[in-house]
């Protein structure tokens, strides 16, 4: 008979693997079901920019905004992470929009008269609990246009 102590790491790995795979699918499902409706009436730009992040982690994406179009930017995080911070920066380093966790905004609407790239930066605040448990949750950056 195989000792439990020997089996435990394998069981933990298997369980972790299942959780991770599920988490990926759940991230897509979360973004699709909980976040996408918030883009209406804008047309979703179809790109899947989502990742599992933990407190203290960051995500970043450069997005092109075309002249003559209206856009909605949305950063959507799983409730387990609480509110996340995010900001939009132009190519000159100027902050165009900022949403801090203590003043959360679900989306940012903008009109663009000259095509340009903007950078969206997201960071998940530390939970400050001092706990060893890492809470990982889905964070999605979505863009819609019209």
């Amino acid at each position: 008979m195989i000792p439990v102590r020997t089996l435990l790491p394998a069981l933990l790995l298997t369980a972790g693997a299942m959780i991770s795979g599920d988490a990926s699918a759940q991230c897509r499902s979360f973004a699709k079901n909980k976040c996408l409706p918030g883009l209406a009436p804008y047309t979703f730009n179809e790109t899947f920019n989502a990742a599992q992040l933990a407190p203290g982690e960051e995500a970043e994406v450069d997005l092109t905004f075309f002249s003559g179009q209206d856009y909605r930017l949305m950063v959507c995080a799983h409730p387990i992470l609480g509110e996340v911070n995010w900001k939009v920066i132009d190519q000159n380093g100027q902050v165009v929009f900022e949403s801090l966790a203590d003043e959360p905004k679900s989306h940012f609407d903008l009109q663009v008269q000259t095509t340009q790239q903007l950078t969206v930066q997201v960071w998940v605040p530390g939970d400050g609990s001092g706990s060893d448990m890492v809470h990982v949750g889905c964070v999605a950056i979505l863009m819609g246009f019209k």
Binding site: G16, S24, T47, F48, F65, V96, Q111, Q113, T114
Partner: protein, 296 residues
Amino acid sequence: MRTSRWLLLSFLSAGIMACGGPEPPQKDTLSTEDSGDGSVQQVRQKKTKAIFYSIPSPMETATLLKKAGAEYETGLLNDVEKVNTYTSASKQALNLGIYGADLSYASVYDHTQESMFYTSCARNLADKLGVLSAFNDTIMDRLERNKGERDSLLTIISGIYWNVDAYLKENGRDNIAALMMAGGWIEGLYLATQVTATNDTPELRQRIAEQKHALDDLLALMNTYEDAGEGQLASTMADLNALAELYKDVDLGESGTVTQENGVTVLAGGKAATLNDEQLTAIRERAATIRNNYVN
């Protein structure tokens, strides 16, 4: 210590799960194996910072073309009868992107019957690449029921692209997703530049010039792959680099100022991007060469 174990477990488990993804249809020089990095997208995890690379979707590109006054030219689209000639995974991925762009183009211009043909082609290739779930019967039923409703159709098609893109990335097959994106982007550039051969307008030239942003992002994305120097990825990168060389001196204009109008942020006008005749001709010819190489 416990935190470290959780993180280690997370990384190991992500690698194990991704190995369980669907088998690629046929091996070629393109690695379709799991990247093993635990990424959820084309996010390339750099320790604690997830970097995303995003290019305009085929739907947005087609919408921009239409707004710029481009006419619909059915003869420019890829031949639907070629779909069964694509037998390698890399060709299937590139042409999934190309048919997807044609599908968006036909749909935005409200050519319903052609939209159905290109949906069928995209479904065929998605099946071969093991991504058929993106085109499940429910979605096909919705397409059939809404084929007279342009806006509904566009929403459903957007959902399909999202499903394919997300599925590939979630299963560590983001190199296939990158080729799909590259194929779709090349097709959009091909369509835009070909239209200028008969209907050259400043608006179209501006949109073609602005693709320099997308090209830079696409190259940045493809450069993140460890096997970027091999097989079809290397070949596609060489194609994109050849285009980047032609775009090198393209004037992207200037950013404007940020103002507020009626509570909405406005990125106000600066100088628009432009292309001269020589640049347009060179980009048009190169895009056609690359695209024709992918579809034939």
